[in-house]
């Protein structure tokens, strides 16, 4: 049997092409902007994996993003007690991933205990989590409180610091490489035995359990993975933004991430990723012109798309492409 490239992978490769040439045809500042949007795209990927693929709705996904951002800032600002001379981006990434993965694991252990929380109520608990973490960050004076942590160093590749990468195009390609790598890795995970079982849990958890799988352990593992990816996203974001504040951890970024993924399409990773990039780009273009009307328009578009295109805009496009390929 001749193996065919799946439509979503084809779409991903097709979407990659313009991003490979973007810095050469567009102004440098746009490349810098997109480098930052790539960090948001990683957050969207993580949410699409846990929600679209595993069916676990996380309404407070920015919690991991924010914890990752703070972990990176605390490390590279030399604020860890006893390790004041530490400046390594690598250590920051490691701490961000370990902390967020650990947090997600601990939460999953509670959330999925016994019969576990079903879809919507998992969403409510994660939403409550986002409120709490935002309040905690605002009240944590050692994390800068409401002002957050400023002057977070840029990315460095040396073992303990070294030259900061400040060239927007270099950062752009670095971030693009990370996004491609994470997308490919999550795709592989989703297609593995582990990933297929997760999709089966999404469809019918009882049946999966009856077939002898430990659904709870699998869900906790998926939750941990998604948390770690979101933590990575936050850590990479803050090296570019240079500023970790409570707004990265709380309700509004979580709501934004949910809208990117839902509007782009939660069924495939690539549609969620494109949703994040497209909406961030549109917001930076339109919010100036539309001002306060932008969130209003976004809310309206979002409601309309939920009713008319439940698979999301890019998701519907990929679906149409899929049907067209099947007919041929």
């Amino acid at each position: 049997m001749k193996s065919r490239l799946e439509t979503q992978d084809l779409a991903a490769l097709g979407a990659l092409a313009p991003f490979l040439v973007l810095p050469f045809v567009a102004p440098t500042w746009l490349a810098g902007d997109f480098a930052m949007y790539f960090a948001y795209a990683l957050l969207a990927l993580s949410l699409a994996f846990i929600w679209g693929h595993c069916g676990l709705l996380s309404l407070g996904h920015a919690v991991y993003f924010g914890v990752g951002a703070y972990a990176m800032s605390v490390t590279t600002l030399g604020m860890i007690p006893g390790l004041a001379s530490l400046r390594s981006t690598w250590a920051g990434l490691l701490l961000a991933i370990v902390l967020t993965g650990g947090l997600a694991f601990a939460l999953g252990w509670f959330f999925f205990a016994a019969r576990g929380l079903a879809g919507a109520f998992l969403g409510v608990m994660t939403l409550a989590l986002a409120f709490i973490f935002e309040r905690l960050a605002i009240n944590a004076s050692w994390l800068g409180g409401l002002n957050g942590l400023m002057n977070v160093p840029a990315l460095t590749l040396g073992l303990n610091g070294g030259a900061e990468i400040v060239d927007p195009v270099a950062v752009y390609f670095l971030m693009l490489a990370v996004v491609v790598a994470v997308t490919a890795a999550l795709r592989l995970v989703a297609a593995s035995d582990f990933g297929v079982t997760l999709a089966a849990i999404r469809e019918n958890e009882l049946r999966v359990a009856a077939l002898g799988h430990d659904a709870r352990a699998l869900k906790i593992r998926a939750f941990t993975l998604a948390g770690a990816v979101a933590g990575l996203a936050g850590a990479l974001f803050v090296t570019q933004f240079g500023f970790a504040s409570p707004s990265l951890i709380g309700f509004s970024l979580s709501a934004d991430a949910l809208i990117w993924v839902a509007l782009g399409g939660r069924k495939t990773l690539i549609s969620a990723l494109l949703g994040a990039l497209a909406l961030r780009f549109l917001e930076s273009r339109l919010s100036g012109a539309l001002g306060a009307l932008w969130p209003l328009a976004l809310g309206l578009i979002f409601m309309a798309s939920v009713v008319l295109f439940p698979d999301g805009l890019f998701g519907e496009a990929i679906g149409a492409l899929e049907r067209w390929r099947r007919r041929r």
Partner: protein, 287 residues
């Protein structure tokens, strides 16, 4: 002694209002299987409604009666335009109402500005409690909440409408087969739930700062209340709301609001770990 009495009264006030909000959320979920993320915004609309009615010269008590009706009517429109389109798609109903809450918050910002308003409480004086004054208005809010909760229970357990509604909660398809007009019931339920939130908002308007995110603070505790109390029962939110509200307001008073949120969250986490189907359902099964 006086301090304790005031604390107890303030906590009861918070608990009763929380029960009122959770009750609306719970009947919408129980009957329609719709998670209404915009429930907090209905409360916020109630508060703004009472404020705006007051501004155009409507007496406070009339505004208090009109605001919930306006919010209920608004709920009826939303049910028709949005909720009815996402039936049987639980996750989509969350997303749709989430979009609605975003929309409503921003619409309020555009109309009234992002700032907060204070609504003057009607001058009903104060009573002496252990040698100190306590505002009568707070006592009236409590009485009003109690009456609304009692009214809701009466509707659901003493009327034909309530009987049909409980039949739909138990088994929607069977109720429809037996001739219950589920579509009509859905409309009324959603409007009723929205109206309860509007009433809570209008009654609380003089006690809180009326701003576009006023509802957000109620949404999470209300959800946690029905999670603790258990789904699919109307008494669940009463038990859950009492527990969540009391823990929240007492911890806020003794420590700080931040720790209160954390304490409530951890407590809820443990409760649902031990009683996955909620306190009320678990107690009932064991009884």
């Amino acid at each position: 002694m006086r301090h304790a009495a005031v604390l107890l009264l303030d906590s009861s006030n918070a608990v009763l209002v929380l029960i009122l909000v959770s009750l609306g959320l719970a009947i919408i979920f129980g009957l329609m299987n719709v998670i209404n993320m915009a429930h907090g915004e209905f409360l916020m609309l109630g508060a703004y409604g009472a404020m705006q009615l007051g501004r155009i010269g409507v007496p406070f008590w009339l505004a208090l009666a009109l605001a919930p009706m306006l919010v209920g009517a608004f709920g009826l429109v939303i049910e028709e335009l949005l909720i009815a389109k996402t039936y049987n798609r639980l996750i989509d109903s969350i997303l749709a109402t989430w979009g609605l809450s975003l929309f409503l918050r921003q619409a309020i910002v555009l109309v009234f500005g992002p700032g907060s308003y204070a609504v003057a409480a009607p001058d009903v004086g104060a009573v002496q409690i252990f040698g100190g004054p306590y505002p009568v208005y707070r006592l009236l809010v409590m009485a009003l909440s109690l009456a609304a909760i009692g009214f809701t229970f009466a509707v659901f357990f003493r009327t034909r409408f309530g009987l049909a509604a409980r039949a739909v909660v138990a088994n929607r398809d069977m109720a429809a087969c037996l001739g219950v007009n589920t579509r009509r019931l859905d409309r009324i339920t959603f409007a009723f739930g929205a109206g309860l939130a509007g009433l809570a908002g209008a009654a609380m308007a003089p006690l809180i700062s009326v701003d576009p995110s006023a509802g957000l603070g109620y949404l999470v505790p209300a959800f946690l209340s029905i999670l603790v109390g258990g789904l699919g029962s109307i008494s669940g939110p009463v038990v859950g709301g009492a527990g969540v509200g009391a823990l929240d307001s007492l911890t806020s008073a003794f420590y700080s609001p931040v720790w209160a949120q954390l304490a409530v969250f951890v407590a809820v986490l443990f409760v649902i770990r031990v009683f996955p189907s909620g306190l009320v359902a678990t107690l009932r099964r064991e009884a």
